[in-house]
C-alpha cells in the first residue's frame, strides 16, 4: 500500500464520518460545520488527483461562499439552534434501500471499467492543466455553449435577487 492510498483511506473515512454527523447532529450550526469538514475532504480528494484548480475552487465556493451563507441563514432565521423533532420519517427504509441500490449499482458499473484500480500518475512536465481547462471553456468546439448558458443563468439569478431585495421608495 502506498502513502497515497493510506491518505485516500483516511480522507475517505473523514468524509463519510463527517457526512454522517451532518445528518445526525441536532445542532444546526454544528451540522453546517460538519458539512464544511465534508466539503474540505472532497477538496483534499481533488488535490490527491492532481486537480489543483478544482480543489481550490471547491474551497473558495463551497466553504467560502455556500457554507458561510448557510451559517448566516441559520443564525439569522432561527432562534433555537437545536432541532428537537424526530430525525427519521416513516419512509426511512425506502430511502435506505434506494441508497444501497445506487451504491451497489455504481460499484457494479465501475467494476467493468479497466482503470478502476489505477492510481493517479503525475502530469508530464510542462503540462498546463489550468491553461487547458481555460481554453476548453472558451473554445467553440468544446464547452463554450454550456459555459455561456451558465453565465446567463447566473446573471438572471443576480437580476432576480436584486429585484426581490430592491426597496421601492
Amino acid at each position: 500500500m502506498t502513502i497515497m492510498q493510506i491518505i485516500f483511506l483516511i480522507v475517505g473515512a473523514v468524509i463519510l464520518g463527517s457526512a454522517l454527523m451532518v445528518v445526525t447532529t441536532g445542532n444546526l450550526v454544528h451540522a453546517a460545520l460538519w458539512l464544511i469538514v465534508t466539503l474540505f475532504g472532497v477538496a483534499v480528494l481533488y488535490a490527491l488527483l492532481n486537480a489543483s484548480f478544482l480543489a481550490v475552487v471547491q474551497v473558495v465556493i463551497y466553504i467560502g461562499a455556500i457554507a458561510i451563507l448557510f451559517i448566516f441563514a441559520v443564525m439569522l432565521t432561527r432562534k433555537e439552534m437545536r432541532d428537537r423533532g424526530p430525525q427519521l420519517n416513516s419512509a426511512w427504509w425506502l430511502s435506505a434501500i434506494i441508497a444501497l441500490l445506487t451504491f451497489g449499482g455504481l460499484i457494479w458499473i465501475l467494476q467493468g471499467w479497466s482503470d478502476f484500480a489505477r492510481l493517479p500518475g503525475d502530469f508530464p512536465t510542462g503540462f498546463d492543466a489550468v491553461g487547458l481547462l481555460g481554453n476548453a471553456l472558451v473554445s467553440p468546439d468544446a464547452f463554450v455553449l454550456p459555459f455561456e448558458v451558465a453565465s446567463v443563468l447566473l446573471l438572471a439569478a443576480l437580476v432576480g435577487a436584486v429585484y426581490v431585495a430592491f426597496n421601492r421608495k
Binding site: T2, I3, V29, H30, L33, I36, S52, F53, V56, V57, V59, V60, I63, G64, A65, A67, I68, I71, F72, M75, D128, A129, V130
Partner: protein
C-alpha cells in the same frame, strides 16, 4: 548544487542520504523531510511574528508621538517575549454556555489560515513551499478559512457583541473579495499564469508601473480583508467592545492577535509579489537565494508599514459607507480596469516593450482621471442635495 545557490535542495539531499543511511524506507524519509520543511517554515514565520509585535508597537508609538516599548532590552526588543509569558500565565476563561470544541478550534484556524498562505510564497527562485499553478485563487481560499474562523469564534462565545462583530466582518470580507479577485487577475493576465513564481519571474518591469490602479485597489481590499482600520468594524471598540474575540483570554486571544499581525505582514508580502517584483531588485537577487529572501521580506515589511500607516492615520468608516464603497466604487472600477488591461494587453502584445509600458501606464492614468472626475461630480451633486433645504430656509424666512 551547493549550499549557497540552492540551500533547500542541498539540505534535503543531505538529509535524504542521512535518513536512508539509517535504514529508513525512502517514502518515509521523503515524508519526514517534507514535514521538517513545513515545521521549519512555520517556526521561522512565528519567530518573525514575535518581532512584528515589537515593530507594530514601535511604529504606532511614532505615529502617535510616543516612544513605545523601551524598557526591556535594547530599544525594548525583548518586550514581546515578556508579553508572551504574560499571555501564557493568564487565567484561561471559557464563558458560560460556550461551545467548547468550536470555541477552542477558532483561534487555531485563524492563525492557520494565515500560515497556510506562506506555502505559496516564493522567497527566492529556489526557496518556496509549493509553486501552485492556481496561486491567486489559493489566496482567496485561505481567506475563506479565515472568515470561517471568525464566525466560529463569534458564535461559540455565546456573546451578542461577538456575533455582531463577526457579521460585520464577514460582510466586509465577502464584499471586498470581489474587487480583490478582479485585481489579482490583472497580474495573472500580464504574466499569463496564476502561479506566484511565474508572476515574479515575468516582472522585468514591476507591475506597479503597468497597473498602478490595480496595485492601489489591491492594497485597499487587502486592508479590508485584514479587518484593520479604517475598515475595523469587527472590533469597533466604541460600539461593540472588541468584536469577535471579546470572550477570549490569554494565549487564545494572543493567537488572534498574532494572526492579525502576521496577516498584515503576509499581505504586504503579496503586494510585493504581485506588483513590486517579489524577490527581484535590479539583479541583486542573483547574488544568492538568501539575498533574494531578504529582499522579499524587506519589501513585505515595507508593505506592512503602509498598512500600519493607513491604520494609524485614518478614522473608522461607517459600515454602510464601507459596503457601498466596495460594491458601487471598487467593484465596477476593478472590472473596468480588468477589461481594459486585457484589451490593451492583446492590442500591444506585438509592439516594443517601451511602447507597451507607456501605453499601459497611460491607460491607467486616463481611467484614473475619469474616475476622479466622475466621483467629484457625484460628490458635488450629493452635497448639493443635502444643502438645498437650508438654502431655501434662509431665502424665505
Amino acid at each position: 548544487m551547493n549550499l549557497w545557490t540552492d540551500p533547500v535542495n542541498f539540505i534535503s539531499h543531505w538529509l535524504m542520504s542521512l535518513l536512508t543511511g539509517w535504514g529508513i524506507a525512502e517514502w518515509l524519509a521523503n515524508f519526514l523531510i517534507q514535514l521538517i520543511g513545513v515545521v521549519v517554515l512555520v517556526s521561522m514565520m512565528m519567530l518573525i511574528d514575535i518581532l512584528l509585535v515589537w515593530v507594530e508597537r514601535k511604529v504606532v508609538a511614532r505615529f502617535q508621538d510616543r516612544l513605545g516599548p523601551n524598557r526591556v532590552g535594547p530599544f525594548g526588543i525583548i518586550q514581546p517575549f515578556a508579553d508572551i509569558i504574560k499571555l501564557l500565565i493568564k487565567e484561561d476563561i471559557t464563558p458560560d454556555g460556550a461551545d467548547r470544541v468550536v470555541y477552542n478550534l477558532a483561534p487555531i484556524l485563524s492563525l492557520m489560515s494565515v500560515l497556510l498562505l506562506w506555502a505559496i510564497v516564493p522567497l527566492a527562485p529556489v526557496i518556496f513551499g509549493v509553486d501552485l499553478n492556481v496561486g491567486a485563487l489559493y489566496i482567496i481560499a485561505t481567506g475563506a478559512i479565515g472568515a470561517l474562523s471568525i464566525i466560529m469564534a463569534a458564535w461559540s462565545s455565546n456573546n451578542k457583541y461577538a456575533l455582531i462583530g463577526a457579521f460585520r466582518q464577514v460582510a466586509v470580507m465577502v464584499s471586498f473579495e470581489v474587487p480583490m479577485i478582479a485585481t489579482m487577475l490583472i497580474p495573472t493576465i500580464l504574466a499569463g499564469s496564476m502561479s506566484m513564481g511565474a508572476i515574479v519571474q515575468s516582472q522585468n518591469v514591476w507591475y506597479v508601473v503597468i497597473a498602478p490602479l490595480a496595485a492601489i485597489i489591491f492594497m485597499i481590499t487587502a486592508i479590508a480583508e485584514l479587518g484593520r482600520a479604517p475598515f475595523d468594524m469587527n472590533e469597533a471598540e466604541s460600539e461593540i467592545v472588541a468584536g469577535f474575540h471579546i470572550e477570549y483570554t490569554g494565549m487564545k486571544f494572543g493567537l488572534f492577535y498574532a494572526g492579525e499581525l502576521m496577516h498584515a505582514f503576509t499581505f504586504g508580502g503579496f503586494w510585493a509579489i504581485l506588483f513590486f517584483g517579489g524577490y527581484r531588485l535590479f539583479g541583486l537577487e542573483n547574488l544568492g537565494p538568501l539575498v533574494a529572501a531578504v529582499i522579499l521580506l524587506a519589501k513585505a515589511l515595507l508593505g506592512y508599514w503602509v498598512i500600519m500607516w493607513v491604520k494609524y492615520t485614518m478614522m473608522r468608516i461607517r459600515i454602510d459607507n464601507m459596503l457601498s464603497f466596495s460594491w458601487k466604487f471598487l467593484t465596477p472600477l476593478a472590472f473596468v480596469i480588468l477589461m481594459a488591461t486585457a484589451l490593451m494587453n492583446a492590442i500591444l502584445r506585438s509592439v516594443s516593450s517601451g511602447v507597451y509600458i507607456a501605453g499601459m501606464f497611460l491607460m491607467n492614468l486616463v481611467i484614473g482621471l475619469v474616475v476622479i472626475e466622475i466621483v467629484r461630480r457625484q460628490g458635488k451633486r450629493s452635497r448639493a442635495r443635502v444643502e438645498e433645504p437650508i438654502h431655501r430656509a434662509v431665502a424665505h424666512p
